[in-house]
Point group: C2
Chain length 337, copies 2
DNA sequence: CTGTTAGCGCTTTCAC
DNA sequence: GTGAAAGCGCTAACAG
């Protein structure tokens, strides 16, 4: 049997109320008594029963993190960011990625409206009707890591995709002299993908370059998708000078196809990506890409959530963006040289 | 305020005990009453208070997963394996990777000896004194994912490193005709590394090949470490025909150095790895490596743990190994052709 | 079959 | 300052 405040009370010759007060370091206890109690607790190796505390406090100090199928390294940084932040505030995190046994919706339902977690962070590329419904009905605070969304009622944090893509394209044009720039878009349902495309398109237009329909192809954010898209681009009579893949995995697909054709990156054609996954620093040539601060993404979501859990929770929803930066690799070159 | 069984009892004109029984689907309740209660609960959107349940059951249905700094993709598969398994049994998982704010020991202390989790899975390359102490003192069941260890008192699951390395080396010798095989070892303190070395050494000896001290170099399981080690090997007058890197990250370091020298893999020199990380299928040429079933590793650890949590917990410690397989890439060639 | 009751271990009024 | 007692929401004897 574990030892409880009852036991401590008996040994210290005080009531359990006093023990509780001492343990919680309240200053309504005589210093001497407090010290005595603390000593006994120490000696007995007392550990408070979390469940009992939760019950009376109506709080578990646990938050849930719901995310799509966890795979690859992208999510680990986010998990780490969240964990680090909430740990400092005395919280723990339950990870619920969707897998063969459980969908995102099931995870959400499991976490919301119950005494199980104090709040949930959801990472999802785009919010569909069902999820939106759940989020607005939730009785526990929620913050969402997502692309642009139409639900104005919840805290969100997102990547500044537009700025990232815009900067990258501008950079390619101004510093490197590229003008024939193709893009491999992301999935239709993915908001991040849309914003990246917008940044691409507007950067071109702003620099006086017209969009070329042939150089805009679809991808699905997988390496295989990148290969297919790249093959299409490479088969064009009028090839682009460089390919902007909307994420790094697709950029790696491009690497494969271009290498397969016996062509050189960046001499024959350039490739740039988006995300700055670990891989992009491993492959040769190193990929020029847009850095996404994944850990910060998690931290920010955690910050918003804990604010709401511990605050009065009556402030307006906030929407923050984490900004991106450009990582210069060797996958593009200066056309002016 | 959330609705409780009290409220349901009132509306159903029964006692809270009956409500509790109905909700827990016990068959000591008249079907009709049960149905009525369930209906009311449904209507009221009743959700049981997890904390209260935990308190009386002395059980939280949460397990903790403690691991070193989470980074890269290796751990995500394990997390997934654990999560999938325990979810099916009605459990959730709290992930506690060590980070700037918290060490492995702190996480362990936080989880053990308290009413917080029902059990913990620890992943750690080798068990030091302090950790071993904690593990044996733990009042909650524990299972450890680790290399060989001297603590016979706890359930462990490990990778069959010896078999993996042995098979790989035998394969290189018999099918490909390699005889001059170098190894980049792993860290001194890492048990997996030792076993892999043993597999390497014994496979050579069994096939009548003597160990060459010059071809045994140290590494630290990082890409950079692989680079350094590879550079040393490449600077030898008597170069090996192939390098067995004790893990894939170091193999990638070899790729970098060999490519940098303008040499070809596998024509000038072969490279093989261990782990079968995602990356090994991405790089060109695809890496020939030893497949480690990471997801199974997690599942197995979860299985052992839940057995103990839900069983009588008085059986002897079990030690299971998950076996490996060889993944054939294009990073080595048939020397006989 | 169902109700009464006693806790699970802790926090928190309300008295003294 | 400290104690008595109520109660968080639920389960599980024990009676009937």
């Amino acid at each position: 049997m574990n030892i409880t405040i009852k036991e401590i009370a008996k040994r210290a010759n005080v009531s359990i109320a006093t023990v509780s007060r001492a343990l919680n370091n309240q200053d309504t206890v005589r210093p001497k008594t407090k010290k005595a109690i603390l000593n006994i607790a120490e000696e007995l190796n007392y550990i408070p029963n979390v469940g009992a505390r939760n019950l009376v406090n109506q709080k578990t100090n646990i938050i849930g993190f719901v995310l799509p199928e966890i795979q690859g390294e992208f999510y680990t940084d986010i998990i780490k960011g969240i964990d680090e932040y909430v740990y400092n505030a005395g919280y723990h995190m339950i990870v619920a990625s969707s897998h063969s046994q459980r969908t995102i919706v099931e995870s959400l339902v499991g976490f919301m409206n119950r005494s199980f977690v104090d709040g949930v962070i959801l990472m999802i590329p785009s919010i569909n009707e069902r999820v939106g419904e759940l989020l607005t009905e939730s009785t526990v605070p929620v913050s969402v890591i997502t692309g642009k969304n139409k639900f104005d009622t919840i805290d969100t944090v997102s990547i500044d995709n537009y700025q990232g893509a815009y900067s990258m394209i501008s950079y390619l044009i101004r510093h490197y002299g590229y003008r024939k720039i193709a893009i491999i878009r992301g999935p239709e349902t993915n908001n991040d993908a849309h914003e990246r495309f917008d940044g691409y398109a507007e950067a071109l237009i702003y620099n006086g370059i017209e969009l070329n329909e042939n150089w805009i192809v679809e991808g699905d954010f997988t390496q295989r998708g990148g290969e297919l898209a790249c093959s299409r681009l490479m088969s064009l009579l009028d090839r682009p000078e460089i390919i902007f893949a909307s994420n790094d995995m697709m950029a790696l697909g491009c690497y494969k196809v271009i290498n397969g054709l016996g062509l050189s990156i960046p001499n024959d054609i350039g490739v740039v990506g988006f995300d700055h996954i670990f891989l992009s620093d491993i492959v040769l040539p190193h990929l020029t890409t847009v850095h996404v601060p994944k850990s910060e993404l998690g931290q920010e979501a955690a910050r918003l959530l804990l604010d709401r859990i511990n605050g009065n929770n009556d402030f307006k929803p906030r929407h923050t963006k984490v900004s991106t930066g450009i990582i210069i690799g060797q996958s593009c070159r200066n056309l002016n040289e």
